[in-house]
Symmetry: C2
Subunit: 371 residues, 2 copies
């Protein structure tokens, strides 16, 4: 199968077909093809195919002032949640002829770096931006970018900026689900391992969690895990620090802001001789791949990541075409996945312990992938 790179230009095709370059352009434009006589168009398409003509998108972008490219900002390629999200975005956008300019923006990068990346993207004339890496400190930049006319959609993480559409998970609800689950099991002394709170996802998880606890008689031991990276190591370190603090562990349950922190905490607890779930319950967040197969299977909060990506993609297109009538906020509902890492506390506190294990169990639905 011979295939050559676009070396023929519209002018070449025009010459070979005996027409003008603009007629070539029109013949290939789906919106203008019927401005061309069918016979002429046929001939142009025929010649174009023979020469292997592909319009030069760079020239087209320059002239049309649009690139059919959507910029996407993520905080890390290594986090499977972003893979899932990009899958959704890509699945929605590629069939429509849009392509993705993706940049990784680590959470410890400063705002300067952040605005540099955005400027680089807009200098490439992206038609819209999906930002899934926003931190509190980026509010001003994002607001001014949005006000300058670039269609922006916040995805996953939001910031305080009215006028910017956001597609997020209801993380406050997620935090509340975790809290209610632990309370319903009878836990009254709970430890929380948080992520960086200038990021909405973590701030909201904490808010929802605290809201529910405040209305109960349960006690919260608050433990900041990391202003840096919510990883297995970090969860391990945070938990070990508590365990080695001298005071015996009063908590009978742990809520970690993501699955990795939870796994790390579980490691530390297991090494310290605690049995999960008999002596300590652990709840994670995100429902990462394989969390259902851990030892024990991790109770966690599942998010609609793929759908979030798809909705963000649809929304950025909507903002591009008519920003006025775009629903500014879509908050997706998370789901509690109960597995084996949570159970009643060692010494159940009083009365009715609702063990909703059986009723709320949700069938596994892991993504499929290969190497």
């Amino acid at each position: 199968m011979m295939m050559r790179l676009p070396v023929a230009t519209a002018a070449d095709v025009a010459r070979a077909a005996g027409v003008h370059a603009s007629t070539v352009s029109r013949s290939l434009d789906p919106l203008k093809r019927n401005q061309v006589k069918a016979a002429t168009r046929e001939r142009v398409l025929q010649v174009a195919a023979e020469l292997g003509y592909r319009p030069n998108m760079t020239a087209s972008s320059l002239r049309r002032r649009r690139s059919n490219t959507i910029g996407v900002l993520i905080s890390s390629f290594s986090n499977p949640i972003y893979g899932e999200m990009l899958h959704g975005i890509s699945g929605e956008l590629e069939p429509l002829g849009y392509h993705l300019l993706i940049a990784e923006l680590p959470d410890d990068a400063d705002e300067h770096r952040f605005s540099n990346v955005i400027e680089m993207m807009s200098s490439r004339r992206i038609d819209g931006l999906i930002c899934a890496a926003a931190r509190g400190r980026d509010t001003e930049i994002l607001r001014s970018v949005s006000e300058s006319g670039l269609p922006v959609v916040l995805c996953l993480r939001w910031i305080e900026a009215t006028g910017i559409a956001r597609i997020v998970n209801d993380d406050a609800l997620g935090g509340a689900l975790a809290a209610r689950h632990l309370l319903s099991l009878g836990h009254t002394s709970i430890l929380e391992i948080t992520g960086p709170t200038d990021i909405s996802t973590f701030a909201e998880r904490a808010r929802g969690f605290h809201g529910v606890l405040a209305e109960s008689s349960a006690t919260l031991v608050h433990q900041i895990a990391s202003s840096s990276s919510p990883s297995v190591e970090e969860g391990n370190r945070a938990m070990a620090e508590v365990l080695n603090s001298g005071t015996p562990l009063s908590a009978t349950a742990v809520f970690a802001h993501n699955d990795l922190l939870a796994v790390g905490a579980l490691d530390a607890l297991t090494r310290a001789g605690f049995d999960c779930p008999d002596q300590i319950s652990v709840v994670g967040y995100n429902d990462n791949p394989l969390t259902g197969h851990l030892n024990p299977g991790l109770t966690t909060i599942r998010l609609q990541i793929d759908r979030m990506g798809r909705e963000a993609a649809r929304t950025v297109l909507a903002v591009m075409s008519d920003s006025a009538r775009v629903e500014p906020v879509l908050s997706l509902v998370p789901e509690l996945i109960i597995r084996a890492s949570t159970g009643p506390p060692r010494s159940p506190t009083v009365a009715e312990v609702e063990t909703d294990h059986s009723s709320a169990w949700v069938e596994e639905n892991l993504p499929s992938y290969r190497a």
Copy 2:
């Protein structure tokens, strides 16, 4: 909708600075800035900063016939291996001012789709292509693309095409490591769950695995898992099929071509009452995140994915600047990670069973990420 602020052009800066646009261009070009008198350059930079001037990369690309963009083809965003790889590629390329145009190309897509994506990328004037999604059937296309002059580097997966650089893992060695490990434990009847063999990674794993077995007295039960998707479900299905076939399971060990297949197989085995590793050993491949925390921890093959991405990035730059003197093949060495899912067979066959559990154990080194 607020209008996009009129961005300053080089002409605007030139007018405000009292110079010609070409002087603006030269003042900002790192390679030509010393062709401009220092005083003039200062003034230009000053004005450019005041006006917030950013060169329009689209125009620049059109004129210079290069885009500072590298195309990357992956088979699925959902596979964490690609996240890791993109992290490496991005980490290497972004600091040098290159950006990534990434496209997802599912393994079940036809060659037509494949060449469409490549043409779309080259119509955007990508400066080079890193292909990590190649299947056997794409050989012709990739060869002709490479021969047409676009710098191409194969990453992760290779095809039969001399003249195209490749950065891959030594998957044959990986397969051999798995085989030697199982043989050293004393297994003599082994089942293999393969991935699609028109993809080099899986074909090589099988080749290396078979090579070692052929020199032993062990028997292989060959089981094709999927021409489609090597997922948990697929491993589950494949294993269940064997277990339900009527004949009792003769194998005492399973080698799955990736971790997901292994986890699925393990599920099916556990449900059928087999204890791992006492009654059945399982080896996976890839060392996905959290596999070390599974129940039991999964013995698997770890790859240098991040490094592979970095090397691929460096290599594509090398091909772009001087394709003649590029080392055409880099094969990275995989590593056996022994965990709890493998042990001696139920009825050890004869003599010296080398249990290398303790000696070859490797410290966990999971990537850190957050949501």
